[in-house]
Chain length 233, copies 2
DNA sequence: CGGAGTATTGAAACCTATCAACAATTGTGG
DNA sequence: CCACAATTGTTGATAGGTTTCAATACTCCG
């Protein structure tokens, strides 16, 4: 499951998507420590209930944060892409599990080292606070989606969010590669896989998107997608 | 709307419910600055889109954090009780509005002062980070509720959460006073007022609660309520 | 090429929303 | 303190979107 990867330390820079809000380079000190770890598809970074004694930075691949209810219902709270930090709830017990959606590489940072670093480097502390707040705002916006939006609005919002996060925002006809399955999307949007599938069909029929392949989405009409998403912003 | 209150500074200590997780007294420095402000029922602390240039601490009353979609659908992201901090997303634009549920008093802290204080006092920064993470975890747990739970499970979870937050946890037969209306509860749980009302009736019929008054809930069977809530924890 | 996993599509059931009427509570003024 | 009006909450009947159950198609890979 968790296998040490070829230790390619060096001063490599990770893709964006981290402190998309404010401080960018302030997170850099974190990359100086920690070990690179390979995580196979569907392997677990940490389980719900585990002590949160490590912080992870996604180097490549994709991670899902999820919880399973006693009767098997599942809800995803977030998708993490390269550059993202996983496991901010340091010190407590994880209330969600983290699993690899595809074969991934993560940088694993011991909690203690992180805290030492934060103690020495106030800017890093500030950057982490900004990041946590940013995540909180995103979570609240997902609460609006889950609480009040219908299936079409949910999927449209999801696709628009992916466009933002993957840096396709500038493109006039953004193309997305969905690393996650319909089940993951469904559990993230609070729907079933069947409804997700039907809703993809609806978006296709409305000419908002094309679906040359189940995993490949071509946005044909971004404005329409935005109307369908009913974003308040 | 926003009226300056009698300036009762002093070293009064606010009710708990703040850093319920880890650092408690580390938040204290915040109370040294800022002005007390009266907020009338249904008045607005800040609107969605406003620049977040103040942090608020609830002294008395209750605050709701909410967003309204273009067509009028509303979703609440949080209820804030005495001791809670409102407006953590300092520096950006508020993505949610904050409104008083009842006549309330809040301590209003200018952003700049807060940031200065954080710069001088690393423990405060750490406390704010813990708080933000705690909020994030709560938001994620609310995502499970909104995405996967039915009406009964939602209301049961909501009542149990209130018991925790209001310090009734120890009581064998906790009694809650609901300061918010059915509409607020509905918009927090992603339901309609009718469904909330019917679900209260169901909980009453199951003898999980008694409802001597629409605003007063007596928990008659906490274990049953916990079973009904289907909490994964 | 064939089998496992994944995605799509159809029909029926179910839970919640909607529309509507009524009851209870609160607040106000006489 | 009562009466009325306005607000808030409850309850009923129906409609509707999503889920569930089921069958079929597609994709990936050995």
């Amino acid at each position: 499951m968790l296998v040490n990867a070829a230790v390619a330390r060096s001063t490599q820079s990770f893709p964006p998507a981290v402190g998309r809000g404010l401080p960018a380079g302030d997170m850099a000190p974190l990359d100086r420590l920690g070990t690179l770890v390979d995580v196979a598809r569907d392997a677990t970074l940490f389980y719900e209930g585990d002590l949160a004694d490590h912080l992870y930075r996604v180097v490549s691949g994709a991670i899902r944060l999820c919880k399973v209810l006693p009767d098997g219902r599942r809800q995803l709270a977030a998708f993490f892409l390269p550059g993202d930090l996983v496991g901010l709830d340091l010190g407590s017990s994880h209330s969600f599990a983290a699993e690899a959606i595809t074969d991934s590489v993560v940088l694993k940072l011991p909690r203690q080292r992180v805290e030492t670093l934060v103690g020495e480097n106030p800017r890093l502390g500030r950057a982490l606070l900004s990041l946590a707040v940013e995540r909180l705002v995103a979570a609240q916006s997902q609460m609006v989606l889950l609480g009040r939006k219908n299936a079409t609005e949910r999927l449209a919002s999801f696709l628009l969010g992916l466009i933002e996060r993957t840096g396709q925002a500038a493109s006039d006809r953004p193309t997305l590669t969905l690393t996650m399955t319909r089940a993951d999307i469904a559990d993230y949007l609070g729907l079933t896989i069947e409804t997700v599938s039907r809703t993809f069909a609806r978006l296709k029929q409305l000419n908002a998107i094309a679906l040359p392949h189940p995993q490949r989405v071509v946005v044909r009409d971004r404005e329409l997608l935005e109307e369908l998403a009913e974003e308040a912003d």
